[in-house]
Amino acid sequence: MFSRDRWNEILEVLTTNWFRTVLTAFGVFWGILILILLLSAGKGMENGIKGEWGDIATNSLWVWTRNTTLPHKGLPKGRSFEYKLQDVQSLKDKVPNLRIISPRNSLGGYRGANNVIRGLRTGAFGVYGDFPSFIDQEPMDIINGRFINQSDINDKRKVAIIGEGVKKSLYDIGQEVLGTYIKIQGVNFMVVGIYRKKNLDGDGEEAQNQIFIPFTSFGQAFNTGDDVGSMMITAIDGVSITSLKDRIIKVLKEKHKIHPDDRRAIGNFDMYEEFSRIERFFVALNIMGYFIGILVLLSGIIGVSNIMLIVIKERTKEIGIRRALGEDPWSIRKQILLESVFLTIISGMMGIIIGAFAIYGINALLDANGPVDMFVNPTVSLGVVTIALVILIISGLLAGFIPAQSAIRIKPIDALRTE
């Protein structure tokens, strides 16, 4: 229950020796500040690295083909093969819990030869033949026009959706883009959409330099027919793609007469596993942040406890007087614990506030100077602040406990005799 007198008393005691109170508080302030900064730095790194993934459906598996390494059913090793559009149906039939399968073909790309021409301008861009479902797996902002639709697939329309980077390379600023034509390896495609991917930096630049065309148009224009270069397979929510990976690979191996023990023929990249590894890394980083922060905080708490012990020693006579006048030991213990918790919370809150300003400053610097590799938007969540507050309350109680015990252990008569 709130007692004005009790709090007056606490303020009186803490303000009697300002300098000592401030020095005592500094240890806790510094500890919590370091904890907040460490956790926010960890979060900044996490945001930076996870940002590389954009809004991609991480519960996905990429599969592509490689040469076989074992002979099987009379077929030699070192054989190359291609997935077919029919494989998509086979996977859907034989592997449950798959949400989306997007077959894809591609040509050109990063560091490749120039493959796209518009007027006098040329560029080397990744060109992908995709299905409309791909945008659900790798979301992108269509900032102008539209993405591939089913009619494009059915009618094998020669339309293209280009990235902002492609637009910058092939068009002047302010020039109309939609409805114009670009030539991809000698075949004209009409631009019907411009996208911007959410990846923030690094690969992000490459991610804006892509061109998406309908899968069927790709097959017709570049003579790939029903061949499929790769597939992005996404599992339904609640089922990890990692748990389905073996079955997917088994179906593909059976379909293409690949030896069951051939570990190389089906190239694959399990994004879920990779993402989980990153998540685990950040969990470890977070734990380390807490560990270091709490150790620093602990030294502050020891400082508070130490000073409280000195204060109690100085106030021994006063405690004796109070007890002679009828204050019970519980009340004295409560008073000392409250002083300690109050001091810890006030100094900790200062640490949190200064930490918040520091994070705000870092974010402002990042905004002003552009993004830094793998470090984006360092923040601390309300949860972290709540945890910090709980740590502070427990710390304050711990810091005050020993001094409180020592205060009530001394007999009133001995306390009164203290000079």
Binding site: E12, T16, I321, R322, A324, L325, G326, P329, P412, I413
Partner: protein, 237 residues
């Protein structure tokens, strides 16, 4: 008249390394309501030890102690604090005021521990400060007061909880004679209202301002006599 304090065969020893120092060797006495008793004796006679036991600040090794008819035995510290607050008021030689609290705040302390609300505490404390002649000084800190004023604040503090018994340990020991008489004048006036007061002193003139003197020697009562009280007001100008 009711018996406020009654002790029978009280013993107390202190362990000094390997040796035991037997300070009280079987004390028997009682004090009636409204008595003003001086306890005298040379240094080491056991007078302060006796007062501390009566004040529940220390515990006797054996013997019986009845305070206002209640047997005081095996009290834990919480209960002892409650009894001190309810039944006893203390006046110390070195005043024992809390330095960072004003005279008024010092006087309100026993009431605070009784759970009396702030307004009532202040009203009562002011009443007792007025009684000891310090109304105008209520908001001063102890270091702004003279020795006599400090002791009068301590008297007001001892009185404010309206205890049954007031215990004063060398209350004039740190004061000059004029101030001592002023303080004793206040004590006598309080006693006149019916309060039981025990004063430990080694000053003869102060002891003769009480109604009864108990002489302690080597841990036993050597003499216990009623005397004709000298009024301190005769010496106060």
């Amino acid at each position: 008249m009711a018996t406020m304090i009654e002790i029978k065969d009280l013993h107390k020893s202190y362990q000094m390394g390997k040796n035991s120092l037997h300070v009280l060797k079987g004390i028997d006495f009682s004090a009636e309501e409204g008595e003003l008793v001086a306890i005298m004796g040379s240094s080491g006679s056991g007078k302060s030890t006796l007062l501390n036991i009566l004040g529940l600040l220390d515990v006797a090794d054996s013997g019986e102690y009845l305070l206002d008819g209640k047997l005081i035995k095996n009290l834990n510290e919480t209960k002892a604090a409650k009894y001190r607050n309810k039944f006893l008021g203390f006046i110390f030689q070195s005043f024992n005021l809390i330095n960072y609290k004003s005279a008024l705040e010092n006087v309100t302390l026993p009431l605070y521990y009784q759970g009396v609300n702030r307004k009532e505490r202040q009203r009562k404390a002011m009443k007792y400060l007025e009684m000891v002649g310090l109304k105008e000084w209520s908001h001063h800190l102890p270091n702004e007061l003279s020795g006599g004023q400090k002791q009068r604040v301590a008297i007001a503090r001892a009185m404010v909880g309206e205890p049954k018994v007031i215990l004063a340990d060398e209350l004039t020991g740190a004061l000059d004679s004029t101030t001592s008489y002023e303080v004793m004048d206040v004590i006598q006036k309080i006693n006149d209202q019916g309060n039981t007061i025990l004063v430990v002193t080694h000053e003869n003139d102060i002891a003769h301002m009480c109604k009864r003197i108990i002489y302690l020697k080597d841990g036993v009562i050597e003499e216990d006599k009623k005397i004709k009280q000298v009024r301190a007001s005769e010496y106060v100008q």
